[in-house]
Amino acid sequence: MTVFDIAEFFGLETRAGKDHLDEEVTGGYVSDLLSDVIAHSRKGNVWMTIQTHPNIVAVATMKELAGIILTGGREPDPSTLQKAEEEGIPILVSSVFTFELAGRLYQKGIPGLSPC
């Protein structure tokens, strides 16, 4: 599944990075602590969070994530959108809360990360 497929299938709205939706998604990660995402997310993951500030884009860039999904109806800050466009990081939004949305993605075959 690509980021585009996920957006379509789960009814997510794309707020930034419209030209960067064709990356194949390697899995999902859920966390609201940036340090945790830096430590554990994997290249190509979609990251679900409620943080909306520009630093989420820096983390996604650094970790080469496929995209960021803001859950629970949260909207990115204007400066976050600007940075996401510059860096080509897709930002998708959903009114669904994190647990529910992560569950839906998992059911559709987006894997999580097993502990090592």
């Binding site: 602590l33 943080q51 909306t52 500030h53």
Partner: protein, 245 residues
């Protein structure tokens, strides 16, 4: 005799990856004086490596510069720790460095330039200063206090990296000396929104990342002189010292 001093106690230098490259000692000190400030504090993310240069530039030009740091706790809460002496700031920096994983990625987070008092670059810090330490909030507060620092929760009116944004409340009994309000929230608004925390003193500062931001938000203190001890007394309303509205 007590009089009014205007202070901006939260300014980033070019050492912070997000700080503008122009944020160097002479430039900041002159800008602060032009903005009518009597006292500033340099608080870079998780480092005090530029503080000595700023203190020299300050004393050359007659501006009080307090050594400080803005530390990121394990919970990703930003805390200002201000000190009287450089040694205390560097003692805390040592503990912070022991608990700060990762290396900076310049292209993503920005440059971390170490400077001298003449604004010349003398090195680059390689640590991931923008990252979080492994230290819990309460431990940072007690470390700072044990070094006779003043500890203030940064920009509590912001969602990102603030104690209220990350925890949703201020833990009971935490030994903070004050709470900082950013320029996004007016004095009146802050009074209403943070009514339940009125037991703490509130300071206002610019959190400047560019020269133009310096002094855009500041605190008026009633003090005898511009020292950390006096600021601490003001935050605890001792011997007539206080934060003015």
């Amino acid at each position: 005799m007590l009089r009014t001093f205007r202070a901006d106690l939260h300014i980033h230098s070019c050492l912070s990856p997000c700080g503008d490259d122009a944020m160097r000692p002479q430039a900041i000190v002159h800008q602060a004086l032009a903005a009518g400030l009597d006292m500033i504090a340099i608080c870079d993310h998780n480092s005090g490596e530029n503080v000595a240069a700023f203190m020299s530039a300050g004393s050359e030009n007659g501006l009080a510069v307090l050594p400080g740091m803005e530390i990121t706790s394990k919970e990703e809460i930003h805390l200002l720790a201000l000190f009287d002496r450089l040694e205390e700031c560097l003692a805390l920096q040592k503990l912070v460095y022991q608990n700060l994983p990762g290396e900076n990625v310049e292209e993503v987070f920005g440059c971390q330039t170490v400077v001298n008092r003449r604004d010349e670059a003398v090195g680059t810090n390689q640590r991931m200063l923008i990252g979080a330490t492994l230290l819990p909030l309460e431990q940072i507060v007690s470390l700072s206090n044990s070094l006779r620092g003043v500890t203030i929760a940064s920009h509590i009116d912001r969602q990102a990296f603030s104690i209220l944004g990350q925890l949703g409340f201020i833990p009971e009994g935490i030994a903070l000396d004050g709470l900082e309000i950013s320029r996004r929230t007016s004095r009146e608004e802050a009074k209403q929104r943070f009514h339940s925390y009125q037991g703490f003193s509130f300071i206002r500062s610019s959190d400047a990342h560019t020269l133009g931001d310096i002094g855009k938000n500041s605190t008026r203190f009633l003090l005898e002189k511009t020292t950390l001890k006096e600021v601490q007394m003001a935050l605890h309303q001792q011997e007539g010292r206080r934060v003015l509205e």
